[in-house]
Each structure stands twice: as structure tokens, then as C-alpha cells.
Symmetry: C2
Subunit: 359 residues, 2 copies
């Protein structure tokens, strides 16, 4: 087991990464204010892991409430959120009850948001069971739900008490979702860690095969990079925005195709290729570097071409993004591999050329 401390003053918390963490109640017990937890999970994860987590907790005298939600991004909405509130209220959960998110990013985001807002805030613990959520949503305190007019439009910054990234849970992950998670892993190399990118190029086959040592390292270095960025910029005013590499384009893709049709990581991969294309047009990235990025995405079975929605549709959908300042579209672009910049200072014609899909 490796442990990483996310440094956020009095809201700091540890991330444990390793095998067989789920059933170790002793990792969780020190964080409970009282012996009551509500585990929020979904219909896919529950049969696989709910009892593995719940039974050892119950054996130590913890009262466990189980909240099983429908599975999928399509349910990351007000209605499903209300199912959590309803269960908490019906079970008379108090401010000292701890919420545990057991599942992927959707479960983590919704449970975190429920924890941030139930009785104006109760403690919560994240147990991410997908690669994407282990390397992305488990660090940074972003919680929230979608709105028909945009993704993650409603939410809060709220930190967990503890994150358990049990890499054993990745064995039951569909390969498409594994690839989607790898997209975010690659992102950390691209935006700020060229050594990690080099290492990933060399170890991608092992990572895709879930080799224990390589997977643990990949999750650790991803969380390490994200934690460094978040610690320096908790509320996303500066460097943190680089974490959104590929996301402004990617959100437009997800939104246009309907949530859940493209996986988030798939949209991010295609979006990252668009950012790379624009960076190349601006003279910031060489053709060879763009090719390296495309090659590593392909090695992870990720799409490198976004759907052709037309320039106007892209511009429209991108205008809704949270990173917009004063009506200008700020983008995360590449200045070589391992260096990203957040800028609205680019030739708008170059953006339009990228959006025509003339890759």
C-alpha cells in the first residue's frame, strides 16, 4: 500500500493506494465521528463490492445504511441526488454520520455533493472503483451533478476525509472504461510531467494488462500530480485549470452526443487531440509531438478523432464551459509535452480550423 497526503490545511486527507483495501475496516474506523455510515453505490458495483466493504464494518459494530442507485452518467441529476437525501432523512442520519462513496466518478461526485449539502455538510469517504475516479475525481474536492443545459453545472468544492483506491476493483472494469481512465493518466504526463509521460509510453502494455506494480505506480503518480496542482490552487483560479486539458472540447462532445454515449475519458482523449492540433497550428507543438500523443492514446485504445459537429455547434457548446471569463473561451493548450498553458490569447481562426476537424 502506498499513501499520499493531499495538503489542504485543516482539510488535508490521505489517499491509500494498493490491493485489498476495501475490506480493511481498520483503515476507515479512525475517521468515523460515530459508528454510523451510509454507503452510496450503484446497481453494477453493489453485487461486486458492497458486502466486501459493509460486512467488516458491521463486524466492528458500525451501523451501515446501504443506498443503491441506478448506474450511469444519465442518472447524475437532481432526481437521483434526492434518492440519497431521502434515504439519509428516512434513516435520520445526523451531522456525525459519514457518507461513503463506493463506485466511479458519478457515484463519487453525487455522494460528495450530497455530503456537502446534507444538513449543510457531513463527513465523507471516497472509495473509487474505476481507474478514472481513482486518478481524477478522488482528488480535488470537486463534487456535483449535471443539468440538462450542461455537465457539472451544479456542485460544490468539498473535501473527503479519506480516499481508498483499491486497485483490485479495476479487475472487473470493462476494458473501454479502463481505457477512459488511462486518458486522464496520460493527461498528467502531458500537462506537467514529461518523465511520467515517457514512463507511460514504456509501460502502457503492462498498464492495460493491470500489472499490479505498474497500476499502483500509475495511480500514485497521477494522484501526486493532481494533488500538487490542487494544493496550490484549491478553487481553480490558476494552474488548476490545466487539469482541464481536452475537457472544454471534450465536454462539448459529451454534451452534443448525449451524456453517456461517449465515455468522459474518450471525449477527453479526442478533445486533447483537438487541443494538440490547435497548439500545432499556433506553432507551439511539433508534428512529431502530436504524433507521440496520438500514438499513446491509440496504445490505450482511445479515440483520437472527435465527431464533426460543425464549428458553430462546437463554439456554442464550448461557450457554456465554466472556464469562460468575460465571454472569451479560455483553452488549455500545449507548449511541448509536459507543459500546458491556459490562455485565451490565440488566433480565433486557428480555433475554427481545428473545429472543422481538418486534423
Amino acid at each position: 500500500m502506498q499513501t499520499l497526503q493531499v495538503e489542504l490545511g485543516n482539510r488535508s486527507y490521505p489517499i491509500h493506494i494498493g490491493q485489498n483495501l476495501l475490506s480493511q475496516a481498520e483503515l476507515i474506523l479512525p475517521y468515523l465521528k460515530r459508528k454510523q455510515v451510509a454507503i452510496v453505490t450503484n446497481t453494477t458495483v453493489a453485487p461486486l463490492y458492497l458486502e466486501k466493504l459493509a460486512a467488516p464494518l458491521r463486524a466492528t459494530g458500525v451501523s451501515v445504511i446501504e443506498i443503491v442507485l441506478p448506474d450511469g452518467e444519465a442518472y447524475k441529476n437532481t432526481e437521483t441526488l434526492n434518492l440519497i437525501y431521502d434515504a439519509l432523512l428516512k434513516n435520520r442520519c445526523e451531522r456525525s454520520t459519514t457518507l461513503i462513496a463506493l463506485g466511479g466518478g458519478v457515484i463519487g461526485d453525487m455522494t460528495g455533493y450530497a455530503a456537502a449539502t446534507y444538513l449543510r455538510g457531513v463527513p465523507f469517504i471516497q472509495i473509487p472503483t474505476t481507474l478514472l475516479s481513482q486518478v481524477d475525481s478522488s482528488v480535488g474536492g470537486k463534487t456535483g451533478i449535471n443539468h440538462p443545459l450542461g455537465k457539472n453545472m451544479i456542485g460544490a468544492f468539498y473535501q473527503p476525509q479519506l480516499v481508498l483506491a483499491d486497485i483490485d476493483t479495476l479487475k472487473t472494469l470493462p476494458t473501454r472504461e479502463l481505457s477512459a481512465g488511462v486518458a486522464e493518466v496520460i493527461k498528467y504526463g502531458l500537462i506537467r510531467d514529461v518523465k511520467f509521460f515517457d514512463w507511460l509510453e514504456a509501460n502502457m502494455t503492462k498498464l492495460m494488462a493491470l500489472d499490479t506494480s505498474v497500476t499502483t505506480e500509475a495511480v500514485y503518480h497521477s494522484c501526486f500530480n493532481k494533488a500538487e496542482v490542487v494544493a496550490a490552487d484549491e478553487h481553480e483560479t490558476g494552474e488548476r485549470a490545466t487539469l482541464n486539458l481536452g475537457h472544454t472540447f471534450g465536454h462539448a462532445v459529451e454534451n452534443a452526443m448525449g451524456y453517456g454515449v461517449w465515455l468522459h475519458g474518450e471525449a477527453v482523449a479526442a478533445g486533447t487531440m483537438m487541443a494538440a492540433d490547435l497548439s500545432k497550428r499556433l506553432g507551439w507543438l511539433s508534428a512529431a509531438e502530436v504524433e507521440r500523443i496520438a500514438t499513446i492514446f491509440k496504445a490505450a485504445n482511445l479515440p483520437i478523432e472527435a465527431p464533426d459537429l460543425g464549428v458553430d455547434k462546437y463554439m456554442d457548446l464550448m461557450g457554456l464551459d465554466k472556464k469562460v471569463i468575460d465571454g472569451k473561451i479560455r483553452l488549455v493548450l500545449q507548449q511541448g509535452i509536459g507543459k500546458s498553458v491556459v490562455t485565451s490569447d490565440y488566433d480565433p481562426q486557428a480555433l475554427r480550423q481545428t473545429l472543422t476537424m481538418a486534423l
Copy 2:
């Protein structure tokens, strides 16, 4: 105009109290990150004050979005909250857009919660137009909505940038709502400021007639007391709980009768009398002191008797309260006028006697 600074580190903010503040755009302009605001108000307040606020802002070049909600506690729910989100998204409001709450506590709580959660947090300004909201919800950062199973069950702690308490707006307030606001004013005297209680006994007639000087003083001293408590205990773990004098009983009354049937302040007055009755049974308050409390409430045209719901119903409804720790009902009780304590260390039989309404 009097000004009070609420000290909360980098989330400190001023409260201006006085006449004719609403139309002074120059009080608001320094707090805007960009020249765009969304004013949230209701169908009762809009015809009276919306243009008085919006026109001077527009005259200085501020883009003003108007969001007019249905009026009443019954609308303090997810559906109405979504109307705010919808309008913000349709108008493409960004993180630099400021929300302005123009109305009573319901508008303030919902707008504050929308501000806390839209794009994970945007700035907001409170312009409370009722006495209750000027002396209570405008200080402390409590925001939220109701749930069918309980009041204010969903919410966030979130601070405004600025509060403008324009006492001119109280002139259009129904007298029943004025009285309800006075209940909270009296509360500050009861829990921690015996001099203020004495002053209120002497000036209640002038306050009920909205004498300018007395009203400004009453709002100022109420906010001052609340700000002191909140600054010392932002997240309600200690002294802040005394602000809930009468509220555990009162929430049960509001909940049982249906939200909006009893005004919040009316329920608090009756609930405070129940707390006083229990305090007397415990030997902490004299019969003469209970009589003083009843007399000042009567002078403000407030109810001093709660409805007889039966002991079990009260216990059941009170068990849902956010102040419950480990299943025990903690209550705010009086140890003389000007001194409150939060305790679960009382004879449960005495509580049951109080709840039988044998006042």
C-alpha cells in the same frame, strides 16, 4: 447609515444598515467582478423594489438579469431552486456573475444556496427586505432549501460579499411579518444581551411603529450579536447553537402545521416560551422572568402558546433536528434573561411535561 463588519477572515463582509440604500448602486459596484448581476426576487417584492434596485445599476452599465420566483416558504424547494439554475444557464452566467438576493429569508436562503452551488460557487449580495431576514438570515452564511421530510435539510455554509439592510423596505411589510421579525430581535436579548432586552422592553412600541432610529438600532444590535456569535463559531459546533433558541420546538410546530401556516418568527416565539417553561421546571428561570418574556412577546403581537400536537408527535418531529448528537435531543435553554445554554443534560420527564402544553 450604520456599518457592521462581519469578521470571517478572507470571507469577511460588511452589513450596511439605514434608509434608502436600495437605489445606491455605488454601494454595490465595488463588489462586482464583472458588470453582470442576476437579481433573484419574488412576485410580491418585484413590483415594490426590483426596478428601484435594477434601474440605477443599469444606468452605470451593469447588465441585469431578473429572476422572479413565486412567493412563500412552500416554494423553498428543489423545483424553485431549479428555476434559478435554469435562468442562470440560459443567460450563460459565469463564475464572475454576482447573484443578488432581493427579498426575505426564503429568497436569501435559496439565492445563497444557488450561489454556493452554481458552477461550484459564484459571488452573492444580500438585500434583505423583511425584518426577520435583516436580523437573522443575512448574517451567518446559512443557505439552503427545505425537504418534504424537514426544513433546511439541504444547504451549505456560504458567505455573501455584502449585505444591504434597507429599513425603508420594512414599511411595506405586513404587520404579522414585522412581529415575526421582532421575535428574532428579542431572541438576541434573551440569549446573550440583557441590556438589549431591557432596551427593547422600553422601546417596543417605537419599534412596532418602525421609528427610524429605533429600527436602525434594533437591526444593528441584532446583527452585531449574531455576527459575534458566528465569527466565533462559523460552523455551528458551539455557542452558535444558542441562536437556535426556540427553534427546535419551533421547527416542530412549523413542520406539523405545514410550512407557511405559522410564520417562522411566530413558531420561534411559541418555541421560546416552551424553552422558558422547561427552564423554569429545571429551576433555571423564575416565574417572574418567564412572565417578562411572555409580556414582551405579547407587546410584539406574537403567540406565546404552541399548538398541542401531543408529546409523541413533538418528540418525533424534534428528533429530526440538525442539533441532534448521538440520538439525544440537545436544547437551547435559559439560565436567566441574557444567558442561554445548549444542553442535553436535563430531566426528560420535565421535557415531556413542557410538551403536554401545561404552561
